[in-house]
Amino acid sequence: MSDHIPDSARPRTIVDKIWDEHLVAPGTDGAPDILAVDLHLVHEVTSPQAFDGLRDRGLRVRRPGQTLATVDHSIPTTDRSLPIADEIAAKQVSRLEQNCAEFGIPLHGIGSPHQGIVHVIGPELGLTQPGMTIVCGDSHTATHGAFGALAFGIGTTEVEHVLATQTLLQRRPKTFEVRVDGALHPGVTAKDIILSLLSRIGVGGGTGHVFEYGGSAIRGLGMEGRMTICNMSIEGGARAGLVAPDDTTFDYVAGKPHAPHGADWEAALERWRALPSDEDAVHDRTISFDAGELTPMVTYGTNPGMGFPITDRIPDPATMADANQRTSLEHALAYMALTPGEPILGKAIDVVFVGSCTNSRISDLREAARMLRGRRVADGVRMMVVPGSTEVKRQAEAEGLSTVFIEAGAEWREAGCSMCIAMNGDQLSPGQYSVSTSNRNFEGRQGKGGRTFLASPLTAVASAVTGRLSDPRTLL
């Protein structure tokens, strides 16, 4: 870890700049630094024990005005006017409501027009801004890094620390530069960029690091594409991933409900423009690749790094030199019931899920609707489209996207995490195959015995229409 060298004396990465700005106290005698948290997002699953901890110690929440809660993981995506059928989930949701009321934390609960997946509503509300530190008891907090914020997931004990002190004990991470240059071909998306990165470095490749994404292909993405990429940083082992802010970022934030305005906006812009890494800043590791070489990706295995171009054939464990890797692949292929050497294209699928904090924003739904328009979901396939927030739902309906989904035979649901984590009844039956726009394909992730193919919204829709894993470029 670097010593605390004065700011003027060394070139700094964006992570350094944010860290230095948020240093409450540098660690002494081997202790970690104390890092200030600008925004703490809270949801129902990882918070109850943290609030209990505050109560046990007689503590209050230090900064309710820098805390925001919503419900997303365990809530149903069906009619919200009905009570939650799952008693345990219902108790967890009502516990969050009680805790927020008791501690004075604003909550966008069931029925709020701003309820949604926590990493969708933060940016939507303009709470997520460049240069901030943002934490949440959820590993996909990395999503907010798309705005040039240092955003990472924390455990419940750390949630308690942030509630009590609005700070965390942290050590400065290393940085891993990811440069993606060139232009994406039609049918190839931000999701394919991140799946490609993960296939190159594996699920532990970024451990101990924070990714900084750059290059012309990244710059060419809109904010929602950048969010897709940053979201899955954690799948590569990196707790956080950032894209330095630029005009695309500023245009997105401008006018959002909590964005600064007037003189504050101009002051913010000046601060934000100074954030990108200094030209001669040094990253601990670097990788680069060409977006123009990418094709639609899909995962075949049981971790997000086990992915490949959709036109490839299932790899053969016998060709792997490392015994543990060979065993891992054997287990994965056995679980997925896939055979080495067979093509993955054409695999019959049962469920298509368009949703999750990775790909459930309005641009994802527009892309999905564009491909689905005039087509129907294949017989025998269940397609669920779950908007990332109640606001996204409202906008999709206003634009006629939901009509496209419904007329094609897909289910149009209320906002929540849904089948990404399968805590709420939206799940696969054992043995079912899904094509999912979510972020994890671990064994049982989408339901015990469920088999997940991770892919982009375009690949998911193409597969829904044919009933088989399909290359979206054939339906463009």
Binding site: K91, S139, T207, N324, M423
Partner: protein
């Protein structure tokens, strides 16, 4: 919360020589609906542990009678990848595990484990293979994880040094916790807030 001070554990090993054991396997998501911290030991590795009919899977290691009471898990590389759920170390410690030996740990899992006095002991990959062979040859032989000395002592008498974050190590040895440390530094928190107005207000 303050815990009992902890300095070392001696136990035979629970062998799980699989890489990339993720937190969805350690504790499936449907068990995260609990509002409590306790009682997750029964749900540890649930979907590997039980057959579809609900009976224990006799082939899964922790169901073997000789594994009961063991406190050291020897896993493959990249243990604890995936989610930030602290329920993962809660389930492991509730079952009785006090230390996990691997060649690497996912960052969030490592941090969560340390907060709960569960020791993430990282050793070089070739040493992990050596440990795996020793325990395969002698399944009941005891290992010692000595946090005070930062040493792993093996049945063959060999010793492997390991590194645990110095601050976390002190907290675990003393049985103190980080929240107390942070609260003791309130003047620094106050000073920071005076100098840095909040960027957003969720109450506005």
């Amino acid at each position: 919360m303050n815990r009992e001070p902890f300095s070392s554990v001696t136990s035979a090993a629970v062998p799980m020589p699989r890489n990339d054991i993720d937190t969805d396997q350690i504790i499936p998501a449907r068990f995260l609906k609990t509002v409590n911290r306790a009682g997750l030991g029964d749900q540890l590795f649930f979907d590997w542990r039980y057959l579809p009919d609900g009976s224990p899977n006799p082939e899964f290691v922790i169901n073997r009678p000789d594994m009961a009471g063991r406190a050291i898990l020897v896993a493959g590389d990249n243990f604890g990848c995936g989610s930030s759920r602290e329920h993962a170390p809660w389930a492991l410690t509730a079952w009785g595990i006090r230390a996990v030996i691997s060649s690497s740990f996912a960052d969030i899992f490592r941090s969560n484990a340390l907060k709960n006095g569960l020791l993430p002991v990282a050793v070089p990959p070739e040493e992990l293979l050596r440990i795996a062979s020793i325990i395969e040859a002698e399944p009941d032989a005891e290992l010692t994880v000595d946090l005070e000395a930062s040493e792993l002592r093996l049945p063959d008498g060999s010793v492997i040094s390991f590194t645990i974050d110095a601050f976390a190590r002190r907290m675990i040895l003393d049985g103190t916790d980080e929240l107390g440390y942070l609260l003791a530094r309130e003047p620094a928190l106050d000073a920071y807030e005076r100098a840095h107005p909040p960027r957003v207000s969720t109450l506005a």
